[in-house]
Amino acid sequence: MRYVIIGSSAAGAQAAEELCALDKDSKIVVVSQEGYPPYSRCLISRYADGRLLESDLYFKTKDFFKKCGVEENLHTTAAKIDRAAKKLICENAKEIEYDKLLIATGARPRFPKIDGLDLSGVTCFHSLDDAYRVAESVAFVKEAVVVGAGFVGLEAAYALTRLGIKVTVVERCSQILPNQLDIIASKIIQRDLEELGVEVILNESLISINGTESVYDVTTADKAHIKCEFVVIATGITPNKELAEQAGLDTDRGILVDEFLMTSDANIFAAGDCIEIQDVSTGKRTLSATWFNAVLQAKFASHNMAGGRRRYTGAVGIQNAVQFHQIPAISFGKTLIEDESSDGYEVISIHSGNVYKKLVLKEDKICGMIFVGDIAKSGFYAALIRQEVDVSKYRDKLLDQDFSYAYFKDENFGQMDPYKTIPACWGSPVWWLQRAQCMGIGS
């Protein structure tokens, strides 16, 4: 079999690894626009501010493709999929034939329609190249503006602050992390960031970036000017679906796949930020957009490309873990409800100081969670959401300190059961033997 993978990030690298293990005689070709071995996009802020070295970002090790015997084409952009000839045509005119193709092209930053985006000193924050730009900025930048207080924007703001640059974050919504957190949680995290000296301006948008060749300030909708030499645009991402779209595959906001991660062509699969998923927590189709999703999808997709039939279920769009400064936070599933009384949603929460825990329930199930300050056992709640477990029996215990996996011992979440029953009843010789053993008699 000839497997061709477009993109070598979370999804692409994972798929290459899985396919190597699944099908030893196969030929695997990876095509990547970027010029690096697979690196963790999520860690670029830690590289930018010097906490990690470039080599620390290689999440599969630097020579991973060579070790697996995968043919790697760096700096190569896939331009067209010829489905009839089962061939991938690259921008450098290289043609690669495939039996099964995986599209793992991820997403790219989305830019707002404002003036001045082409000035020097304006960047997005999405790749290692962007991280270099941020790291280099320290030489000439004293003040910076970050547009968008989403996850990526705040990561950039945190990195710039650690580099000793004065940062102002401008956010259109009335809170930071508007897609992940509610207002209470966002205030706790905002305070945590502000303690470091990050300035956050809410309910404000940018209308232009000003300068002659490089930036000298930005203008907000309020006609305020903020002086800065550096601007990071972090206003969201958009899936790289064009390749699939032009090949006539079904797409919407992202590439559409079935539960086997197959596109509308049986020889083409897709995984990662470029696809849409069916979110169990909301019941709606949504963008995938997280590392964890990308890796899981790649596992299922590669299995199915190698002839298996593994169903990818329990997908959730929002799954974020953050800790910028002191306070950790996790949000998972449907955390935002427009009107708490409508649609049968119910919210339970506890809040004291910097600890805030909230669960969103619908009918007998948990469908969303926000944990701030204390994130212990959050994975257990996430599993209840993913697996749509009925929690009605424990309605009033859900946020108790001692509510734990112990309550769902029979639910193994697909893994080996470590609990052994002792085949003995009270008073039987075996029982006595065991008691004696327990007390150390005879051992």
């Binding site: 999520c42 860690l43 996996y405 112990a406 893994q415």
Partner: protein, 156 residues
């Protein structure tokens, strides 16, 4: 491959496994001394309770570990030989992103808030069962007076 098995009926909830775990994973290798110094000792095995019965919740070193898939640094790995899932001692380092904590269905991974003092970079670490690499048998198994815990050889 070895896994931790639990004979539930025998557990009396004495929590000696938790103490032994904290002790084993402290720099001082002694619980009393460890509580005095930093980092604050933390257990990686949890005796929870339900209906007034104790129930140890352990890491299963899963066949398909979600913590490994979730790890964006690539440091959480399942050893192909021993089957043990661990985030320490690999080329990549734990950066305390907490994705594994969000992913583990059993809730047995926890954050350390004390930043690791070793290595060139200081990050808080995710703490999980490592099957006590310095020992033949994990500390919790040795400490259990009721023979609840067992490191059993299993086939995958």
């Amino acid at each position: 491959m070895k896994r931790l098995m639990v004979k539930l009926e025998r557990c009396s909830g004495c929590k000696r496994c938790e103490l032994a775990c904290m002790e084993e994973h402290s720099a001082q290798k002694n619980y009393c001394l460890a509580t005095l110094g930093a980092p604050e000792p933390k257990t990686r095995i949890f005796v929870e309770s339900i209906n007034d019965r104790p129930m140890p919740v352990v890491c299963r070193h899963c066949n398909e570990p979600l913590c490994v898939s979730a790890c964006m640094a690539g440091c959480m790995q399942k050893d192909p030989v021993t089957g043990i899932v661990n985030n320490m001692g690999h080329e990549q380092q734990c950066v305390g992103c907490w994705m594994c904590i969000m992913a583990c269905p059993y809730g047995v991974i926890n954050p350390s808030f004390d930043v690791a003092q070793t290595g060139k970079n200081a990050f808080a670490q995710a703490l999980k069962c490592d099957f006590c690499p310095e020992r033949e048998t994990p500390a919790c198994v040795v400490a259990c007076p009721n023979d609840v815990l067992e490191a059993e050889e299993i086939k995958e």
